[in-house]
């Protein structure tokens, strides 16, 4: 077993048990694991975003190696930038297979404008970048939703109730009974959200059936949510069981012993001091005494 794998197992065991310790109560182990997760995630995302998108697709189109000519203004700027970071701006231009597209200066400018929100006197400029993103996203989403969620779903729920080639009843495959359920469920569910008329009489009864369909849907969602959480728990326990072996120097057992020991000692001191102190102030209870 490689030393790095063993270290990785110890770190994973510590972070997993540290997060689980929140089930007892908020404590420094949990906080350490949480902060580490947020920091590492943000750093990883930033680094990957830069090296997979900004560097090859933005800078790679502004300063492609194909058109490298040190006498032009563009590449004079490039060589100046290259002086500061030769890994981002390597000598001779960026070779990612692009042609030069100076139109990409516009997204670069919009991106810089968004960063200007950090400077109060220029923060108004960030609105331009945000406006572009909002406008683009709204336009993109409108089409997708209309096509797939509205038209596609209307088509999907327009079932033939008189298709006698189908079996009368089937649990999961198409059947007359299932088609009837889709038809009634869709109509009644929609009627529940029709608020222009008081829900009385026939509309009231139909909307009540709609509520039952919605409740069944919420129940299914809850069931799936439970199943998902248990799956994740199984994943963590599987890893903890793996890390409890001798090849990992019993990482799980040691980490569990240390965390439970420290939290138990903190709880003992807290009880004896008679002061209800938050457990995240470990060691500070003496001062409070």
């Amino acid at each position: 077993m490689e030393f790095s794998a063993i270290i990785g197992a110890w770190v994973a065991a510590f972070l997993t048990i540290g997060i689980f310790s929140y089930l007892y109560k908020d404590n420094p182990f949990y906080k350490a694991a949480e902060h580490l997760f947020v920091g590492v995630s943000a750093g990883y995302l930033l680094s990957l975003g830069f090296w997979t998108q900004l560097q090859p697709n933005l800078f790679g189109r502004l300063f492609p190696a194909k058109h490298y000519d040190p006498d032009t203004i563009t590449y004079t700027i490039y060589n100046f930038l290259s002086f500061f970071s030769s890994s981002i701006f390597p000598e001779g231009g960026i070779d990612k297979g692009h042609d030069q597209h100076l139109i990409y200066l516009i997204p670069l400018a919009l991106g810089v404008m968004m960063l200007l929100s950090l400077i109060p006197s220029f923060s108004w400029m960030a609105r331009w970048g945000i406006a572009y993103v909002v406008g683009m996203a709204a336009g993109l989403k409108a089409y997708g939703y209309l096509n797939s969620n509205v038209l596609g779903q209307i088509k999907g729920t327009a079932v033939n109730l008189l298709d006698f080639s189908l079996p009368v009843f089937s649990l999961s495959s198409p059947s007359i009974f299932n088609n009837l359920i889709i038809f009634v469920g869709t109509i009644c569910g929609l009627l529940y959200f029709y608020f222009s008329k008081e829900h009385k009489g026939l509309l009231g009864r139909a909307s009540k059936i709609g509520i039952y369909f919605l409740m069944i849907s919420f129940g299914a969602s809850f069931g799936f949510a439970v199943m998902g959480r248990i799956s994740l728990l199984i994943g963590r326990f599987t890893d903890l069981i793996k890390f409890s072996g001798s090849e990992y120097n019993y990482a799980t057992f040691w980490v569990l012993f240390i965390i439970v020991g420290v939290l138990g000692y903190a709880a003992y001191r807290e009880e004896n001091s008679g002061v209800i102190a938050p457990v995240d102030n470990l060691g500070s209870s003496t001062e409070e005494e």
Binding site: L23, Y24, Y44, L45, L48, G49, T52, Q53, P56, N57, G60, D95, K96, G97, H98, M136, A137, L140, K141, G144, Y145, N147, S148, N149, G152, Q153, K155, G156, T157, S172, S173, I182, S217, A220, S221, F224, A225, V226, M227, G228, I230, S231, L232, L233, I234, G235, R236, F237, T238, I241
Partner: protein
């Protein structure tokens, strides 16, 4: 009768930490001592299997990885099983990632399946195009011109130098799409911006939480089947006759569900007794 009611009331007011311990115990025991409960494939999982099985040899399959280590127990077994099925049938696999961690998960799965089990050649049998930020904009980019978005792959090799990228310019050049998804951006974006507008068939493997969101697309025929959470992954493992981590987790899953149902029943009994008594006084 009152004594029995008191017991139920006591159970109803038990410290939640005891419930955590019980759940932990019932999950750990089946992991250590497997029961081997039977796994039967549902129609939605079978549809995914049939769709991939029906692809002619050498088809171009786009596999999109949209999950992170946080949902690894659910999504990763699906990805591994789908890769095994595709490589066994000699399909060409193109991998993209809409999530940054997806690239790392894809590398892990490829190392295990493509290199370890099938000895496939990078650039000829499979390619990892990698992660690009932008969510649905990336999907739109792949649909219109994949080469504009992916000028280099995850190893920074120019796509023009990758043999299996010959003839691949946009989404219509793929014969099938499988999205292993844990949320946004993921399966829904692929349906909305790629599969629906182009008509290229797609399937998906999603986390349990997403199943209710994705199922309408399966029902309406916009997607060909779905692998639903860990059970879906276990079903696919049984369909390709190669058991993995999802199958071994299903015993614990089933036992834990039974215990949770028991807790819900006990909690409700306690609630109704409490309500009855409060009305009395």
């Amino acid at each position: 009768m009152n004594k029995i009611e008191d017991i139920f009331l006591k159970i109803g007011s038990v410290d939640r930490r005891w419930i955590f311990i019980v759940i932990a115990v019932v999950v750990i025991i089946p992991l250590l001592v497997p029961i081997g409960l039977p796994i039967r494939a549902t129609d939605t999982s079978k549809s995914v299997y049939d769709a991939i099985e029906a692809l002619p040899k050498g088809s171009n399959v786009l596999l999109s990885i949209e999950y992170s280590p946080s949902t690894k127990p659910e999504n990763h077994p699906m990805t591994i099983s789908i890769m095994r099925h595709l490589f066994r049938n000699d399909q060409k696999v193109y991998i993209t990632c809409l999530w940054p961690d997806g690239q790392f998960m894809a590398q892990d799965a490829l190392k295990q399946v493509a290199e370890g089990e099938f000895n496939k050649k990078y650039g000829e049998d499979y390619v990892l195009l990698g992660y690009r930020p932008g969510g649905e904009a990336v999907v739109k980019g792949i649909v219109s011109n994949i080469r504009k978005l992916f000028s280099v792959d995850a190893k920074q090799t120019k796509v023009d130098d990758i043999p299996m990228m010959d003839g691949i310019t946009n989404f219509k050049d793929f014969d099938f799409l499988f999205s292993a998804s844990a949320g946004y951006p993921g399966t829904i974006e692929w349906v909305q911006y790629a599969a629906d507008p182009t008509g290229v068939p797609m399937s998906s493997g999603v986390t349990s939480i997403q199943v209710n969101e994705v199922m309408p697309y399966v029902q309406s025929g916009q997607m060909v089947g779905v692998l639903a959470g860990m059970p879906g992954a276990a079903e696919y493992e049984s369909l390709i006759n190669q058991k993995g981590s999802a199958t071994s987790g299903m015993d614990a899953q089933s036992v834990a569900h039974l215990v949770i149902v028991l807790f819900i029943v006990l909690g409700n009994i306690s609630y109704f007794i409490e309500r009855k008594r409060s009305r009395k006084y």
